[in-house]
Symmetry: C2
Subunit: 214 residues, 2 copies
DNA sequence: GTATATACATTCAGCAATGTATGTATAGGC
DNA sequence: GCCTATACATACATTGCTGAATGTATATAC
């Protein structure tokens, strides 16, 4: 091959990331070699080393590429002027679960992160970033909860830390468990019931309140 | 070194598995080499190849070694003659969560499985075994639920598949989330509240029933 | 007491992946 | 129309690990 235009170079970069996603998903992040990714992308390793520092750099770029679609939905839920914060939160959670089922790219991403990835060595910083992302979501949930409490959608004496942590765990748990065994349950149908059960528990479970007697 | 007695050989084997646990936890399963494990165990790679076929075999042996303590507790909950199946289930879940916090070995195991392990290539069968183990637990939960329903501890029209899947997801989600960020919450204290919230939802959430109106 | 299987240590060949160095043809600025 | 940075491909050296082969000293069976 020869020198491409800038637009073509960007496309090459995207091709490499697409290929990486496929290969990471098929063989696992650590087991995948740059040779694998290169041949999947229809280029040589030289091209990869031109666009990226090394495999870890490719992986990070691939992860970064796909954090966008969820943000807008989540933001609306934590907007203080939103009259129905719990409704937005419900929408968001259902959407997230259904995306995991229906969007093959999203599902692949989840499977890579949950099953095909070692958080160690070079990837140790990825664990930190996961933790940061986790705390971000927790912060959003906390603000959304505050709005919901102000509007009487959640009880005033809800233990914020406990309930946020609990709800967040529910989401990751459902996704992870379903990915492990997708056959046992039609998650797309069950999503709303799962989410509603979580919200029901938030609203009514005494064990998530600060003062047990209320 | 020289020829050891059978008892000493068994101890060597255990040493290797202990070392593997440490090294897998520190470097990740795929990144760890047999050389690492050997030097951690104070033996040479020759010793490992004597006791095991390869690294994957070591890993499998390490995983198999630690499935025992939970079984007895879980079994009591699914015993049809148990007068308080939900109470046993509660005990078991709380115990499981607290073990993840307090028992360093158990925690290490969880961290290896959740964060330091790629389920791909040679480890693909491990994913199958995870799935099997998951279905085992689901089966136990199903039987326990049946007992609880028979004894009036859970509603008659509970959707078995949905509720079992949901509860199981809660457990794995809580453990996984806490392992990612142990600082934000004292899980040992929160464990009972989390479990009670889950049980509360099982008992009262309309979204887990088969017929919504009841 | 001898023979043999055992429980390792040591050595070696070979591969596969990585990173780098170099080649090369073109795009785009002047 | 030339020059240079760009966007790759190709070739090479190095490394680290694996698995198997071999060595060896001792339990243990007989």
């Amino acid at each position: 091959m020869v020198r491409r235009t800038k637009a073509e170079a960007l496309q090459t970069r995207a091709q490499i990331l697409d290929a990486a996603e496929q290969v990471f998903h098929r063989k696992g992040v650590l087991s995948a070699s740059l040779k694998d990714i290169a041949s999947e992308a229809g280029v040589t390793r030289g091209a990869i080393y031109w666009h990226f520092k090394n495999k870890h750099d490719v992986f990070m770029a691939m992860v970064d590429r796909s954090r966008l679609p969820f943000d807008s939905l989540a933001e609306r839920a934590e907007d203080a002027s939103e009259p129905d914060p719990l409704g937005r939160l419900r929408e968001f959670m259902v959407y997230l679960l259904q995306q995991a089922v229906c969007d093959p790219g999203q599902r692949r991403l989840f499977e890579i992160m949950f099953q095909k990835c070692e958080f160690s060595g070079e990837n140790a910083d990825l664990l930190d970033r996961q933790r940061d992302a986790c705390r971000d979501s927790a912060g959003r949930l906390t603000r959304t909860f505050a709005n919901a409490i102000a509007r009487g959608q959640l009880p005033k004496n809800l233990d914020r830390v406990k309930s946020v942590t609990w709800l967040h765990s529910q989401l990751t748990g459902v996704i992870m468990n379903w990915l492990l065994d997708p056959e046992v349950l039609d998650l797309e149908r069950a999503a709303t019931d799962f989410v509603d059960t979580c919200l029901f528990a938030l609203q009514h479970s005494p064990s998530l309140r600060t003062s047990p007697g209320l």
